[in-house]
Amino acid sequence: MSTAAGFDLDRAPAVLVLEDGRTFRGDTYGATGQTVGEAVFNTGMTGYQETLTDPSYHRQVVVMTAPHVGNTGFNDEDNESGRIWVAGYVVRDPALRPSNWRSQRPLEDALVEQGVVGISGIDTRALTRHLRERGAMRVGIFSGERAQLPVTELVNAVQRAPLMKGAALAAEVSTDETYVVPAVGERRFTVAAFDLGIKAMTPTLMAQQGIEVHVLPATSTIEDIRAVGEHGPDGVFFSNGPGDPAAADAEVAVLREVLDARIPFFGICFGNQLLGRALGFGTYKLKYGHRGINQPVMDRTTGKVEVTAHNHGFAVDAPLDREVAAPADENDGTAYGRVRVSHVCLNDDVVEGLECLDLPAYSVQYHPEAAAGPHDAGYLFDRFVELMSNNEKGNRS
């Protein structure tokens, strides 16, 4: 199978099949077998390890637009969770050998170990353009014996896969047990962090701000939240995570209780969508989502542009041009008051952040914790600290 020089020039064939019937023939990469999921593309040129281990990619087959993947190997430091979550992995040119002083094993070894089926050697740009034009869709990767099956059969298999729209996945990726990430240095605040698919970097950065982070399972209740800390938490955080926010009714209900209790709230990604829903906004599925680490977002408070990491297929539907009363106030009789869109993506005007003007609550659709990606939005963690200290002062006075 290999040549004299040790290069795997003859990988076994694999085939990628989209639900609309388009197929790409390439080589086996990672584990051999079959996988189905939602096809999405990621444009980051660095950070494949973080991407692979980001729980938000659960049930998604990730297409890397960067042609070379695996160059820096796989280490034990850069994981965003305990495992690789992607349902399948599509690359053009897998690295032959990792080269980095922190590398502990080749990427492909990690993929094989964790049973991640991938495909390499295909025209990833053509696939990306297809997804851009036709929208995210279901996909299957078939290797080994399955690669030999007739395409119609494979298309059928893909079409039988569950849709992302309507999928409630938080419970599948969340921690089973609460765990605590201790504050670095003196503990200033205690936060209850809802794990809807949380990335490791988020509690790490909070901890660096002196926050003791109690990471709770996605199925936690308001009582579980109140049980955090000596007098309940100083703040509540809802993390990123996979699935359709429209299907997360239970989490939204808990969040409303948090808002009703005026506990300072910060949400990221899925957490932003849930805040949107709690406030009474709708959410919708983007045609092909934002996945990359180069997205320009304007912070409408300062007028500054930050380059940010994104990974979202859904977005909040809220008016950009004005602050509004939370629709829930009228529809559901809540008293959340005014809300405005605090951040917007300059590429396509998608809502990237919400800010409550009459509640201590805000959220962003993108990833201030980066990992992978630029650190431009790190100030949002400072805002959380600010919000909690202001709240503390407010409560004291």
Partner: protein, 1132 residues
């Protein structure tokens, strides 16, 4: 925040002549800046002494000053134009230095025209090494550690602290004298010991060595509200120790994890903020220790740089253009991304391909120079390539070098282990072509680890090269070429030529098989966003993938082949012609398709042509582009005559492959290139050429020389040790020459040409449509025949030729154009001797002088040429107003200004292995990297301006050293006397001093260098002490060679003017006289054109505005009356 309303006019400072380290990337950035500013309704005033640039075309600025970029001249321009601001960050170090000087002398304040783009404090923080160290520290990052030592004990303890090896740099020594690497204590005692001696302050700096570390660059941009983006990361394949301009570089960085990359990004952003670059781009370089990831910040350039041009081409994010917009007040989010149109520029490009840049060197032109690559840049050009993976991009980049030995090969038997080790030993020292040596070492079986150990090249890159070798093995060993195998090889960048060599079959056969099997490239798009958004700009590159993105077209397309990497003899001048052809043909209703691989150029700006293919200029790559475009729509033809020798060399093969070539046919091109065929053309036209012959031995050479008559020009038919042409006057010298310089043999004959003594060399650029001829310009060389025309200064119009002579030149040119069958441009070199006009050579293509001619005469000859090539007649172009209604460049009116072109030479860059500057003698090999133009009403002033623009300028006072060859002694008397009369002190060696004394010219006698004694300074000492303002030294045969060399080397290293021919001396005297009459006055090309009024008032305005005559014609009120008909020739 929209643009600043207080800025209505901006002075843009260009970068001057092309020199090593500062090439046409600044034409690209400057052209973009001028365009942007004009689009914004700002009046653009431009100064740039380089006539070969696109930016100095009158249509790119409102006032274009082709004047020397010195503080005095620029002040004069500011005083005349009163701009609201000065933009100097797009013109390289030249512009930046000039701007700093204007700031320091208070000129900017006096005229209230502040710098925009970067403030002086920021520039100084970025450029001052000590201050920058402080910046780095404040940003929480590290610089290389260093310790200043005054004694050996201090050195020893510092070295222990820093750890060996250490770099030793003695303070205040010239040209890095005494510096070196100490690997252990013994080295340190030796090097630092000497260094302490060399240093006038007994001081050496010991610095930790970061040689061998990984090297990275980031291109960062910031706007005035503090938005920052990183446009591109670049990784050097060659580790630290080689100047980044001389390194093979890759974008994006490929061997960093996100954490490590983001750390570089954080530091980069912190630095641009701390330095305070308000608006614009900067480039920050890092070294990363491959063992533990420790990061050292090396330096930053607070301006647009060569790397930013590369980054712009690599990403599709036009840094200079956006920097210009930010300089006038826009913020990043207000500027749309050109390529997507929908999204803003405030993002970071994502690449779904790999870019490789390979430098191109010219050591063959400087055989004495040490070819080791160091931290001093030595390359003269570069090629970039784009592929969907590293192997493809690398192999494409290597074949873009257009050198046989530049690509990976598998010739001959596999190297033995011993041979492989020899290769590896060679590869330890970075030199031009090291990558191929590395490939050979690996081919010989050496492991990635061993090669990494020896070269420091990252194992990832080496492994990719091993992969290339493995695929080559498979190709060589396969029973047949299957589609799968071909596809595999193609996906890793193998050319048909490489496959042919591996399979032992002709390239054409491989191509035939490949096409028959349907294995052809597709073309992808550079879109800044990895396909996330639709791209509107057709900027393509080839790859072997599934889907092509070439869109169908309706208009007929013209493909223009560019000139590839810059090299000596083929540079920006050719790009100028290509770009003009593209502009003219787009305007005439064609779709233009540019093919080129030089990232520094305007031609590879995606704004220039309808479509851009960033591809190597090899037959295979060009044929595939032609094929792709033929699939897309009608193709009117391919232009090969504008990009210099590179595309011209493809003409025949393209035609044979059925590709339509427009303009002069490949057969006609051949006619001019083949000595025999050209001889017949000359005979038919009854035009004389110097007699010539070929000799295979010394005796034969003498025989030939006697037959054709002395003096003769002799040269080996191949270059041996750089000894080129020599002028020989007698049998004895000739025989010595042949035995000394060459081994005349059947394989290597000696060419003997009659040397035309006292000949005036004349260069002509002409346009011919089959019926009519338009003489673009007639240029008279200042140096004698025998010096490469590219290195020779020349003047347009000619200053010593009369009407009759000019008429003869015209007639001869016409006959040649007819005889060869030119359709488009032709360049002819004549020599006028003893009233006979000899034809030296004729080239039916755009020449190096086309842009100079266009600037000097105010006529867009390159544009007209492109139109003629596509079938327009000169008559039509005159009617249309692209060409003047009557007259041409051969009939310049007597009030026409005189333009002098002066060459700029890179001698100072190159040092011999023992640290001396290489010899600066001019010869038959072209060695200049660039050129400048001086333009004024008379020759003397124009020449003086040219000298000032090219270097330090002619002296106004002081001592002039004169030492001339015997044959020049007569000719020197008058000019030297004039210099003495003008108040200069003449310094001469004994022989010359005697001649001067007898002619009544007093001089100080100085010792030759070879006669130096302990107490007495020699001429070389005087020069090095700065006591000599100018040197006149004509070479005088082999005996005095060493002395002459020492003198020239010293002069070159002191940056003083050096005159090596008597003709140039006469010109210099005229120049000195002119500049003693007062300060230079300045005048933009637009005013020169208006005063010249070739187009006549009210005519040709319609298209004239868009054709390079510029607004001068369109808006010129009261521009005087037209000068009808040919004026009397010879302005002097």
């Amino acid at each position: 925040m929209p643009k600043r309303e207080d800025i209505k006019s901006v002075l843009v400072i260009g970068s001057g002549p092309i020199v090593i380290g500062q090439a046409c990337e600044f034409d690209y950035s400057g052209t973009q800046a001028c365009r942007v500013l004009r689009e914004e309704g700002i009046r653009v005033i431009l100064v740039n002494s380089n006539p070969a640039t696109i930016m100095t075309d009158p249509e790119f600025a409102d006032a274009t000053y082709v004047e020397p970029i010195t503080p005095e001249i620029v002040e004069a321009i500011i005083a005349r134009e009163r701009p609201d601001a000065v933009l100097a960050t797009l013109g390289g170090q030249t512009a930046l230095n000039c701007a700093i000087s204007l700031h320091e002398s208070g000129v900017l304040e006096k005229y209230d025209c502040p710098l925009i783009g970067a403030n002086v404090e920021a520039i100084q923080l970025g450029e001052d090494r000590e201050k920058f160290k402080g910046v780095v520290e404040r940003c929480g990052a590290e610089s290389a550690q260093s310790v200043i030592c005054h004694t050996m004990d201090e050195c020893l303890s510092a070295a222990t602290e820093l750890g060996y090896p250490v770099v030793v740099r003695p303070s205040f020594t010239m040209g890095g004298l005494g510096s070196g690497f100490a690997y252990d204590e013994r080295d340190l005692r030796r090097i630092a010991g000497a260094g302490l001696q060399y240093s006038p302050t007994t001081e050496v700096l010991l610095e930790e060595s970061i040689t061998g570390w990984k090297e990275y660059e980031l291109e960062v941009m910031r706007d005035h509200v503090d938005n920052v983006v990183v446009v591109c990361s670049i990784e050097n394949l060659d580790p630290m120790g080689v100047h980044t301009g001389d390194s093979i570089t890759v974008a994006p960085a490929l061997t960093l994890t996100d954490r490590e990359y983001q750390r570089l990004r954080d530091i980069g952003i912190a630095i641009i903020r701390e330095v305070g670059v308000d608006t614009g781009g900067c480039n920050i370089q890092f070294a990363v220790n491959p063992v533990d990831g420790r990061i050292i910040v090396i330096e930053m350039n607070p301006r647009v740089s060569r790397s930013s041009a590369l980054a712009s081409k690599a990403t599709g994010f036009p840094i200079a253009k956006i920097a210009a917009k930010m300089a006038i007040g826009y913020t990043l989010d207000e500027v749309p991304n050109d390529i997507t149109r929908e999204t803003p520029a405030s993002f970071e490009p994502s690449l779904d391909y790999v870019v490789v840049k390979v430098p191109r060197f010219a050591f063959e032109k400087f055989p004495a120079a040490d070819p080791t690559l160091t931290t001093t840049m030595k390359s003269v050009g570069e090629a970039m390539s784009i592929g969907r993976n590293f192997t493809e991009a690398l192999q494409k980049a290597l074949r873009s070098m257009e050198r046989k030995d530049s690509t990976f090969h598998w010739d001959g038997p596999t190297p033995s282990e011993e041979q492989a080790r020899t290769f590896l030993h060679t590869a330890k020292t970075p030199t031009d072509g090291r990558i191929v040596t590395v490939q050979q070492a690996m081919r010989g079986g050496l492991s990635v680890e061993e090669v990494h150990e020896a070269t420091g090249i990252d194992p990832w890159f080496l492994d990719q090269m091993a992969l290339i070798n493995a695929i080559a093995d498979r190709v060589a060993g396969a029973p047949e070429l299957t589609p799968t195998l071909l596809r595999l090889a193609k996906r890793h960048g193998f050319s048909d030529a490489q496959l042919a060599s591996l399979r032992g079959m002709p390239e054409a056969v491989v191509r035939g098989v490949r096409h028959a099997l349907g294995v052809r490239p597709v073309y992808k798009t550079v879109d800044t966003c990895a396909a996330e958004f639709a791209a509107t700009t057709p900027y393509h590159y080839s790859t072997y993938d599934e889907e092509t993105e070439v869109a169908p077209r309706e208009k007929p397309a013209v493909l223009i082949l560019g000139s590839g990497p810059n090299r000596i003899g083929q540079g920006v001048e050719f790009d100028y012609s290509c770009v003009h052809a593209s502009f003219a043909l787009r305007e005439a209703g064609y779709d233009t398709v540019m093919v080129n691989c030089n990232p520094e150029t305007v031609s590879t700006d995606y704004d220039t042509s309808s479509r851009l293919y960033f591809e190597p200029l090899t037959l295979e790559d060009v044929l595939e582009v032609v094929h792709a475009e033929q699939q897309a729509g009608p193709v009117a033809g391919v232009i090969v005559q504008l990009g210099g020798q590179t595309p011209l060399g493809l003409a025949k093969a393209l035609k044979e492959a059925g590709v339509p070539i427009v303009g002069t046919s490949p057969e006609a091109i051949d006619l001019a290139e083949d000595r025999g065929a050209f001889g017949r053309v000359l005979a038919e036209a009854q035009l004389p050429a110097p007699k010539h012959g070929t000799a295979y031995s010394a005796a034969e050479a003498v025989e030939v020389a006697r037959e054709i008559g002395y003096p003769v020009l002799v040269r080996p038919s191949y270059v041996l040790g750089g000894r080129g042409m020599e002028i020989v006057y007698d049998d004895e010298t000739l025989a010595t020459y042949v035995t000394r310089a060459t081994v005349a043999s059947p394989e290597h004959p000696v060419l003997v040409d009659r040397f035309l003594d006292d000949a005036i060399e004349i260069d002509v650029d002409a346009l011919y449509d089959g019926t009519d001829m338009y003489l673009g310009g007639i240029m008279e060389h200042i140096e004698e025949a025998g010096i490469h025309s590219g290195d020779s200064a020349c003047t347009l119009p000619p200053v010593t030729l009369g009407v009759a002579e000019l008429e003869r030149v015209r007639e001869a040119t016409l006959k040649l154009a007819e005889g060869i069958g030119v359709r488009g441009l032709m360049n002819v070199q004549f020599a006028l001797a003893q009233d006979i006009l000899y034809v030296l050579e004729a080239n039916p293509r755009a020449s190096r002088t086309v842009p100079f001619v266009a600037k000097a005469t105010g006529v867009p000859v390159a544009k007209a040429a492109a139109r003629v090539m596509l079938g327009a007649t000169i008559k039509e172009l005159r009617e249309e107003g692209l060409l003047p209604p009557i007259g041409d460049g051969g009939t310049m009116p007597s009030h026409a200004p005189v333009a002098v072109k002066e060459a700029v030479l890179p001698f100072k860059r190159f040092r011999t292995r023992d640290g001396q500057v290489v010899d600066s003698l001019l010869g038959p090999e072209m060695r200049s990297t660039g050129e400048v133009m001086g333009i004024d009403q008379d020759f003397g002033t124009a020449f003086a301006k040219g000298m000032l623009a090219a270097g330090s300028g002619l002296p106004r006072e002081g001592r002039i050293f004169v030492s001339v060859a015997n044959r020049d002694k007569r000719a020197m008397i008058f000019p030297v006397k004039r210099l003495a009369d003008l108040g200069f002190t003449i310094v001469a060696t004994t022989g010359t001093a005697d001649v001067l004394r007898r002619n009544g010219i007093p001089s100080e006698v100085v010792r030759k260098h070879s006669e130096r004694t302990a107490g007495d300074a020699s001429i070389v000492d005087l020069i090095l002490a700065g006591d000599i303002a100018m040197v006149v030294n004509t070479p005088s045969g082999p005996n005095a060679r060493a002395d002459g060399y020492a003198i020239r080397a010293a002069t070159t290293s002191m940056d003083k003017p050096i005159v090596t021919t008597v003709q140039e001396l006469a010109a210099a005297v005229q120049g000195i006289e002119a500049q003693m009459q007062g300060a230079f006055t300045v005048k933009p090309l637009q005013e020169h054109a208006r005063d010249l009024d070739l187009y006549g008032v009210g005519t040709g305005v319609g298209t004239g505005v868009g054709t390079g005559v510029g607004t001068g014609v369109g808006t010129g009120s009261g521009a005087g009356t037209a000068v009808p008909g040919p004026a009397t020739g010879g302005a002097a």
